[in-house]
Amino acid sequence: MINKIVRTMAEALDGIKDGSTVLIGGFGSVGQPDALIEALIETGVKDLTIALNNAGSGRVGVAKLMDNGCVRKIICSFPRSSDPVVFETLYREGKLELEITPQGTLAERIRAAAAGIPAFFTATGAGTLLARGKESRMIDGREYILETALKADVALVEAWQADRWGNLVYRGSGANFNPTMAAAATLTVAQVQHIVELGDLHPHMVGTPGVYVNRVIQVDRGPEWTKEEA
């Protein structure tokens, strides 16, 4: 019997090594795997490269991960979120390497990794500072730059429902980076609000087929996040 459901954070994050590249889902707090991030901090892992949209705010979650010295490099589109105190301090002190990638290029580089596309051309960023050092090419009279796949060792994602095959259903705008990241890593771990019986998810509602998911852990995100679908 295929059963990807694990009961403890130790099992969920087993085997994540120093120096790994980790994709972290979510856009703002929506679809962000908070509990997995907390547990990752507790493992004491070092020298991570993390890729996600923002660089955390305040001193919790991703900010705390960086604050605790777990992160060597961050690949993101928008490091200045609402309260980027930890990021700005570490970056100013030269303790954090930053790779800025346009948000759509970030999503597409991860999608490319998931889809076996090592590199693709895009007009995004052509002629700007972010094109520096990148191959460029005129195609049909327009300039494009070559962007490369962003493959990862680990993806931490969040979803609304899962079954024991690891099929994931997202809620509202909670998909965002999650389905793409789930498909682009060697080890994908999903934090979910609800676990349901196999066969209870509608085949067309599945946002991430279980093929992409290695481990699922149920985490109650608390009363403010528990509102059921209408």
Partner: protein, 214 residues
């Protein structure tokens, strides 16, 4: 002379959006544009985090924490709304399926170049978000911004000084002083101005040649 307020700038842009367009609104004044499109005119608001068909902010007590826009504000959905993930959302943007994007700006050049993400090459940790994707992908790009900086320097220029977001992408600018088209091969063409403002006064606050619309 009475400059346009933030809401007036947003309202003027909203007036120019025809029914049926799919529109992406940037953070700040651009977000206000949605409030000024009358509910009788159907415009589809897309948010780069994968929402197609955003409605106004939710009434107190009806918030759904799972539904946010690109500025991470809570939103509602309209009938006909759908969700996609980030890769598909930016495929929609990059692939030219957004009729209009409205962004804020630091500088716009007369050839349509936009600078709105960094204030210098040595900017500490510049944050680009989805602006470059939108600049490269949207069918039309309108900018809403003050005509000058707080200390009075023009933001409409012959050539941008700050690092570019996109090249030759801006097609119209709504400022607190005027509405200006960016016309290929010609430059800035003034559509209309704030009440009491003369063309020469507007030209004096602009660091590139202005043309009068015919």
């Amino acid at each position: 002379m009475t400059p346009f307020t933030r809401d007036q700038m947003a309202h003027r842009a909203a007036d120019d959006i025809p029914e049926g367009w799919c529109v992406n609104l940037g953070i700040g004044i651009p977000t206000l544009v949605a409030n000024h499109v009358p509910s009788t005119r159907e415009v589809v608001f897309q948010s780069e985090n994968g929402v197609i068909g955003m409605g106004p902010a939710p009434a107190k007590g009806t918030e759904d924490l799972w539904n946010i826009n690109a500025g991470k504000q809570l939103i509602t959905l309209v009938k006909g709304a759908s969700f996609v993930g980030h890769a598909d959302s930016f495929a929609m943007i990059r692939g030219g399926h957004i009729d209009l994007c409205v962004l804020g700006g630091f500088e716009v050049a007369e050839n349509g170049d936009l600078a709105n993400w960094a204030t210098g090459e040595n900017d500490t940790a510049p944050a680009v978000g989805g602006a470059m994707d939108l600049a490269a992908g949207a069918k039309r790009l309108w900018v809403i911004m003050d005509h000058t900086t707080k200390d009075g320097r023009p933001k409409l220029l012959e050539k941008c000084v700050y690092p570019l977001t996109g090249l030759k992408c801006v097609t119209r600018i709504y400022t607190n002083l005027a509405t200006i088209d960016v016309v290929d091969g010609k430059g800035f063409v003034v559509r209309d101005m704030a009440p009491g403002l003369s063309f020469d006064e507007l030209q004096a606050k602009t660091a590139a040649k202005l043309h009068q619309a015919h």
